[in-house]
């Protein structure tokens, strides 16, 4: 995949499975958003292909739900949380909708499923980041996708809301047998729920279980220089440079990923 002639990602290959929670981990600029956009069909790969459910990705693909990084809505915008969820059902259709009881009920159930029923009638623009995130997840899920893509959903959330969103997604992946792919620059909040990891660095990717991927030799090969993986109280720290050497600000870069 290249953008404006610059190679962003090269030879990236992985599979996603139903009911599994996959973390797409990489620092800013590693190509997480680009990869998601390729899967969504918003960008074309310079070579290679994306298969969704064994078939090439079509233009109109209802099997993928997508939650973008951030939406910016005016607080006065007259759209209630439930309106945004309802757009998940038929927001892509032209013409005048028929009001339907079934539709309203589906929206109601979905709002409950993501714990958004308490603010269902509030204007979306007035909701907090975590609340908006849940509304967008409901919007994506109501179309009954088989694959759910989330671009940095934790980026604008405080730690507690982040945890809530992660456990909500893990529950949904399991209950509805959806493949969830979530991008983040920090893997630690995902460790308890992540079945598989795709680690992006240096324009390449490694994928597998956390134990298979987050290892000195695998990550060093990705980055193209020596990095070490430290585990501390169940948290993972990836540090660049030789292990024994003390941290020298002048020539040692510490990268916590």
């Amino acid at each position: 995949m290249s953008l404006s002639g610059r190679l962003i990602l090269d030879k990236v290959s992985f599979g996603l499975r139903a009911g599994e929670f996959t973390g797409l981990i990489g620092s800013n600029g590693a190509g997480k958003t680009t990869l998601l956009r390729v899967i969504l069909g918003l960008q074309r790969p310079s070579s290679g292909r994306v298969l969704v459910l064994g078939a090439p990705r079509g233009r109109r693909n209802k099997s993928i739900g997508y939650v973008p990084q951030k939406i910016v809505l005016d607080p006065d915008m007259p759209l209630r949380a439930r309106d945004v969820v309802a757009l998940g059902i038929d927001g892509d259709r032209f013409g005048i909708p028929m009001p339907s009881k079934k539709r309203r009920q589906a929206v109601e159930e979905m709002l409950v499923a993501v714990d958004a029923d308490s603010f269902a009638d509030a204007r979306v623009g007035t909701l907090s980041g975590g609340e908006q995130q849940r509304v967008l997840i409901a919007h994506a899920l109501i179309g009954r996708p088989q694959l759910l893509l989330l671009d940095e959903p934790l980026a604008n959330l405080d730690l507690k809301s982040g945890q809530e969103v992660v456990s909500l997604l893990a529950r949904i992946a399991d209950e509805q047998q959806i493949a969830v792919l979530l991008s983040a620059h920090e893997m630690n909040p995902l460790l308890p729920v992540m079945d598989r990891i795709i680690y992006l660095a240096g324009g390449r990717a490694a994928s597998g279980t956390t134990d298979e991927v987050v290892r000195d030799e695998v990550l060093s090969a990705l980055y193209g220089y020596e990095v070490h993986v430290h585990t501390l109280h169940g948290r993972i720290l990836v540090v660049a440079g030789p292990m024994e050497e003390p941290a020298l600000p002048s020539d040692t870069t510490r990268t916590a990923v």
Binding site: L40, Y66, R93
Partner: protein
């Protein structure tokens, strides 16, 4: 009733045409305007007016109904803005400014030529501030055709348009041709704005387009209700405006009617002010509810 409806209000045929045309224009503008405000494109509406002024004054010069010029100018302006806007958000300000400046310059030339050729100063007044009392029935028919087209487009695209307004990326990922939807909407906007220019003039057109919608959106958080309220406010403002303008002939010492556009804009302006009152804000659940959410 004599003091409200001055003599001849109900029997005057220009008044009838003005009321019917005005009400149609108000309905179309109010509905399209809801989406204009929702998408944060009030400025686009205003910009259309500038480009359309050139179109309207130009078409008068060649002897065409200014309405066609308004609409042609509006469509050209809408297309241009959508193209500039989609490509580079950064350069949009500068590009829009330069294009609008050029169209106003062109309008100045056309208006000058209009007044010298026809040796009446009424043309500028008509183009810039509307001519609803001199509307002919054939113009009313054209307004009807463009109005129905405009509403038809809105009925067709409103759901994808709404989704694109929430997030263009989500919309694109779901296979919505976001750009085409945006262009169709701008076309509907140009049709609505074109009729609005006719009613209250190119300079004030935005008031009728944005005003009722903005007021309605402050009072309700449901789009359907907002559209209905916006229509009601728009139609009432136009009817009141026509009535007051007609009556003003009898109030003013010089016996000259004040412009309809003045009254319409004043009514909309004061209605908007009312919705800004803290009491109204609290009732309609804006900001105040927001503050509660944060606290809880």
């Amino acid at each position: 009733m004599h003091w409200v409806f001055e003599p001849g209000f109900f029997s005057s045929s220009p008044v009838h045409v003005a009321l019917i045309t005005g009400a149609m224009v108000a309905v179309v503008c109010s509905i399209v305007g809801v989406f204009t405000v929702l998408r944060g494109q009030s400025f686009a509406g205003h910009s259309l007016a500038d480009v359309a002024t050139a179109g309207g004054s130009g078409s008068f010069l060649v002897g065409l109904n200014p309405l066609f010029g308004f609409i042609a100018g509006g469509v050209a302006g809408a297309g241009g803005m959508e193209l500039i806007g989609v490509r580079r958000a950064r350069g949009r300000d500068v590009a829009t400014g330069i294009v609008l400046g050029a169209s106003i310059g062109l309008a100045a030339l056309f208006l000058y030529l209009d007044t010298t050729r026809s040796s009446t100063t009424g043309v500028s007044q008509q183009i810039l501030f509307g001519s609803i009392f001199s509307t002919t029935t054939s113009t009313t028919l054209i307004v009807l055709i463009f109005g129905v087209s405009s509403l038809g487009i809105m009925a067709f695209v409103h759901r994808p348009l709404l989704l694109s307004s929430v997030s263009a990326d989500i919309a694109a990922a779901r296979g919505i041709p976001v750009r085409v939807v945006g262009l169709l909407y701008m076309l509907a906007l140009a049709f609505a704005a074109g009729s609005s220019f006719l009613a209250i003039g190119a300079v004030l057109a935005t008031a009728l387009l944005i005003g009722p919608a903005a007021i309605a959106l402050r009072l309700t958080k449901r789009i359907g209700i907002a559209m209905a309220m916006s229509c009601l406010i728009g139609v009432v403002a136009v009817i009141l405006g026509v009535l007051l303008a007609y009556d003003s002939y009898y109030w003013s010492s010089s016996h000259a009617s004040w412009p309809v556009s003045f009254f319409i804009v004043v009514i909309i302006f004061f209605s908007y002010l009312v919705t800004e009152l803290p009491f109204i804000r609290a009732v309609t659940g804006r900001r105040t509810q927001d503050a509660e959410n944060r606290a809880g």
